[in-house]
């Protein structure tokens, strides 16, 4: 097990804004161990999605570095596969099965039959084995996100990046998909970095939670979460309160500043 599979070293990201610059992320440093589930939790505008995009290689670093297994990340690649929030991340011109199988073929160079077999197995894992021949536009939002997760899983990335994938779903579907994410993770223990603005989601899914604040986006604190995989345990109330306090006090500091 690689304790420093992903290493972020004093990362800063600046956006050009007209003539000036906006500091979106500043002094971001942390490491992620192989097989870990790490949550990036913060209010909207704290740069958590930008941080995920930087890890994915879509957003270049203005300073500092992101290293995956020692190599500096400079562009997107299938070793860090993203599940997006948007429902339109599947290719509409392909069936559910082809969306998964073709992604595996393109990224892993598997043969047609091997890719098809893997597609069947990951679709079964998310309970969609009967929907292989369907086109994405006929699926509900929750089913589309399941296919996107299945596709990402089938590609076997080193790190799976999830950018608020359940934020646009109804509460019941969201809870179901959170549970499924946990179940899937327990089968293969792939490193998972998950962006969310929900304390509940962070506490259910994350072994560690990176609490982020805004202006500029920065790490407020990194918290170990002993209550991972459980919901609403009475003894988790204190930690929940502490996270809430951290989020609100950093927000209050900004408002005062």
């Amino acid at each position: 097990m690689n304790a420093e599979q992903l290493k972020i070293e004093d990362l800063a990201v600046r956006f050009r804004l007209g003539a000036g610059e906006l500091l979106v992320l500043d002094h971001i440093s942390f490491t992620v161990a192989e097989g870990e589930r790490l949550m990036l939790l913060g209010p909207s505008g704290c740069g958590k999605s930008t941080l995920l995009k930087a890890i994915a290689g879509f957003q270049p670093a203005s300073a500092g570095a992101i290293r995956l297994e020692g190599r500096v990340v400079s562009e997107p690649g299938p070793d860090r596969f993203v599940v997006f929030q948007e429902f339109d991340q599947l290719f509409p011109w392909k069936t559910v099965r082809a969306n998964v199988a073709d992604a595996v073929r393109l990224t892993r160079g598997l043969s047609r039959s091997e890719a098809a077999r893997r597609a069947e197995s990951v679709l079964a894992m998310v309970g969609l084995e009967a929907y292989g021949d369907f086109y994405p536009h006929t699926l509900s939002g929750g089913m589309k996100q399941r296919v996107a997760i299945a596709r990402a899983w089938a590609i076997e990335p080193i790190i799976l990046l999830m950018d608020e994938p359940f934020a646009a779903l109804d509460a019941i579907t969201r809870a179901t998909l959170q549970q499924e994410t946990v179940n899937i993770w327990h089968r293969a223990r792939r490193t998972l970095i998950f962006v969310t603005h929900s304390i509940d989601e962070a506490m259910f899914l994350g072994q560690r939670i990176v609490i982020m604040g805004s202006r500029p986006g920065r790490i407020v604190e990194i918290i170990d979460n002993p209550y991972v995989d459980t919901r609403d345990k009475p003894e988790s109330a204190a930690l929940r309160q502490r996270i809430r306090d951290l989020l609100t006090s950093s927000a209050a500091r900004e408002a005062a500043a």
């Binding site: 994915a56 879509f58 562009e75 997107p76 690649g77 299938p78 860090r80 596969f81 993203v82 997006f84 948007e86 339109d88 991340q89 290719f91 509409p92 011109w93 992604a103 393109l106 990224t107 929907y131 369907f134 086109y135 994405p136 536009h137 006929t138 699926l139 509900s140 089913m143 590609i155």
Partner: protein
């Protein structure tokens, strides 16, 4: 759940759709029969000169004679061939313009400005210019035809590529696709609805233009002339039945191509849920 609806009793919905299709076809046949019947009766009752308005019988007679002696088939093929060549040339130019637009912002502005200016210009308005430059020749015909198809194609291809959803582009790059592979696996299929619309509009513009242009450039434009030339010459020879048979052919080809487009659309972008725009 949408998927449940989509899968719900497919046999019955397919059968219902099928019988509805037959009902619609039957109604259309009845309407056509009433139209031709009324025409035939009106011609016989009024005693109008067949040189002005021929009888339905005469028109269909001329139509089937034209098919039997292949002359109508040749004329039709000449017209369709001209248009297909123009569409291929137009497509090549449209692709080249889009490559230019992709490579530089000057190219982009050039494409948008030129295409926006020339798209609304009816191509047949260029007939005098074509005559001046190339005389009564195939070149003239193709010049006018290419003009009628290229701008709608170029603009639609441009819109298609510039409106590929961001998420889809990200997913493609996330898979490690770059350059031509990204283009082939992501951009082209994502832009297909617009590319298809471009081809469809080009055909519609081109089909109108090719007939009009053939009236002017006539037999020089292709061996024996196309449908436009045929209806012109038939009129010249006071063969009004032949002129109407030519018009009937133009209508039939138009309808056939339209249903071909609809069929392709159903089997592709409609099936993929990409036909909304």
């Amino acid at each position: 759940m949408n998927a449940a609806e989509a899968s719900g009793e497919p046999g019955r919905t397919a059968r219902a759709a099928h019988s509805e299709l037959w009902r619609v076809a039957a109604r259309k046949l009845v309407i056509a029969a009433i139209f031709f019947g009324g025409w035939e009766v009106a011609v016989r009752v009024s005693g109008v000169s067949p040189i002005l308005i021929p009888s339905v019988e005469g028109v269909f007679g001329s139509f089937f004679r034209g098919i039997a002696d292949l002359s109508l088939i040749y004329s039709t093929w000449a017209t369709v061939q001209n248009l297909l060549i123009a569409m291929l040339v137009g497509l090549a130019i449209a692709v080249a313009l889009n490559i230019g637009a992709f490579l530089s912002s000057w190219g982009r502005e050039a494409l948008q400005t030129v295409a926006a200016a020339l798209n609304p210009l009816p191509a047949i308005a260029l007939l005098p210019v074509a005559f001046l430059w190339f005389g009564a020749s195939t070149t003239s015909l193709l010049f006018v035809l290419v003009n009628s198809v290229v701008w709608a194609m170029a603009l639609n291809i441009f819109t298609g590529f510039s409106t590929v959803p961001r998420t889809i582009r990200f997913v493609g790059r996330n898979m490690g696709l770059r350059g031509l592979a990204l283009f082939r696996h992501v951009y082209v299929p994502a832009a297909l609805p617009y590319i298809y619309t471009g081809i469809k509009i080009s055909w519609a513009f081109g089909w109108r233009t090719v007939i009009a242009a053939e009236l002017v450039f006539g037999a020089t434009a292709s061996a024996g002339g196309g449908l436009g030339w045929r209806i012109f010459i038939d009129r010249y020879n006071l063969d009004t039945e032949g002129t109407f048979a030519g018009l009937l052919t133009i209508i039939l080809i138009g309808l056939a191509v339209d249903s071909l487009f609809r069929l392709v659309e159903r089997r592709t972008i409609q099936k993929w849920g990409m036909a909304e725009h």
